[in-house]
Subunit: 348 residues, 2 copies
Amino acid sequence: MAASKTPTKHKRAVTLRDVAEKAGVSVSTASRALTPGFTRISAAVTQRVHDAAQSLDYRTNYSAKATSTGSSAFVAIVVSDIRDPLSAEIAHSVTAVATAHDLVPMIAGTGPRGGAGVQVLRQLRSVQPEAIIIIEPPILDYDTSPMAEELSRYVKEGGRVAIVGDSMELGAQVTLSWQAGATDLMSGLANRGYSHPTIITADGSSTAMRRWRRGMETGAAQDGLDIDTWVVPCSQMDRDGGYSATKQIMKSRQSTDVVICASDIMAIGAMAAIRDAGLTLGPDVAVAGYGNLVMADKVLHPYLTSVDLDLARAGDQALTSCLDPDPAADPIVLDHRIELRESTPTRR
Amino acid sequence: MAASKTPTKHKRAVTLRDVAEKAGVSVSTASRALTPGFTRISAAVTQRVHDAAQSLDYRTNYSAKATSTGSSAFVAIVVSDIRDPLSAEIAHSVTAVATAHDLVPMIAGTGPRGGAGVQVLRQLRSVQPEAIIIIEPPILDYDTSPMAEELSRYVKEGGRVAIVGDSMELGAQVTLSWQAGATDLMSGLANRGYSHPTIITADGSSTAMRRWRRGMETGAAQDGLDIDTWVVPCSQMDRDGGYSATKQIMKSRQSTDVVICASDIMAIGAMAAIRDAGLTLGPDVAVAGYGNLVMADKVLHPYLTSVDLDLARAGDQALTSCLDPDPAADPIVLDHRIELRESTPTRR
DNA sequence: TTGTACGCGTTATCAT
DNA sequence: ATGATAACGCGTACAA
């Protein structure tokens, strides 16, 4: 917690004044020559200044620029844990877009259950980034209102905010396709001949999970199917949770012909449970996941039926729409793409 | 590539001047009152200033502070791809330590093959962070000298650098236990009765892979074992690469009793190949991985024999040692822990 | 087209 | 112990 004892005194880096002197012009002329959009300046001088800058290896001092202009060239990305593959995928797309816009991405983590969230946001407010992008995990097991309050202060100061998730009504909203994707997946499975689906979802007040479940129900209703639901605790949305849930499902609901998991990781556990029970994956009981994570893809490729959530566009949309001067009132719902693969073969 | 067209003009946030006015003191007094280490100031004034700051919800402007002091409270983390689980794990530990030191972590990606690395570093140089931490992937399939050159400029300006990896001789060095860990793993397997190991490694000039291979050879020599080596292209260090390599190994080298993969992901593929060949994993042919990734652990827990590389400490070591005023000359080699699990059962 | 002068918010130096 | 004032590096209105 203590501030670092000996803040490094940087040796004076090359400054704009140095460039100006070397080019034989005033500082302001040098500044203008190096500003891309500037026209009223002679080509000769522009060239001289650029040459000087290059030979001195000059870099603009962002801090100074920020104090001068009031805007900072930073974009802050807040995740709960960067190690979470889904968060990482979205964060990656934000960084890519940010870099393309000459913005410097910063990443901060709130820690488990969003514990350090408020502290992190306070720190970020000191940095005055152009925008703060909040990436929420699909399972949100904590209260987001303290963070929302801190964010609203940032907004009052003119900051832009985008939320990838559903918990806060603040700034630009980008939500993954939890509902429509679920409906389409269910329809797709019905088309492949499945009639007794059991879905594994999570308890708690997660909006994403609620939507997912509703989407599944809608899809089932469209095709006149009954749907069995198995609920696991939020903390069990991993391989082990999927494994034990599936094991019990196969004991208690033997008519089940497909297990649909709310995450790919759980689906991996489900597949293991089916194999360990001596059943054949697919013909006996099929498995579908949700999210189409690169990681799961790497592990199981090309095998697990899943729903691609277009995560790469999530970051793009979030950053673009919250930097957009016109505030798009409605939440942006991302696309999805059903990926029917070998884990759910067509049923005769 | 274009700069964002309309840099947001932030409304004037609360400034130190506002706080000073509200507290009825001068700006400099307010500044001192809010600086933790300051003594020569009356308790009453300190209290008034803190109250004013709190009621106005004042936040220090880091940019202004940076222009004034010349040091910036930032730590930059450079990875090639944040989605890589190994990089993410290390980056996570850096962010945790950085936050504890009141430093703001920034993450930037170099893109595939380090393509945007130089550009990113140039941008970071504009930010003048306290330190830049480079996290290299174990398989380095590109030339790092352009980045090294850019980094050396940063160092000349007084910046601190740490490299988690082996490719650059610059700043503080932290290297994962590629060699000793490999030796220990091989010994551990020999103890469990394995006598015909085949290792799957990657070609190219990766230092990490070279060390790993040497470590394996050392371990094998200690126990008087012969070692078979299978080399795959760098680009094939994934599940599919492990799968097809193992398939061919089992055809051509039927005496193999354990396949040791240079990564957990490849090991997952290897396990699938063994099963698909109708063999029993373990008794017929065993499999070991390397890295003990959380991800692989989640997918296979508690199953795959692997070597834990103490990634959580990597970030800590990197940041701490490069901020340390005394430059530790020797590279820091991290610990490892052999995890012998069910995928390599004791052989009778 | 170019230079002068001032402001951004903060810390550091010198008085008092 | 406190306050006035000068820096820090850069952008920019204004003047030339």
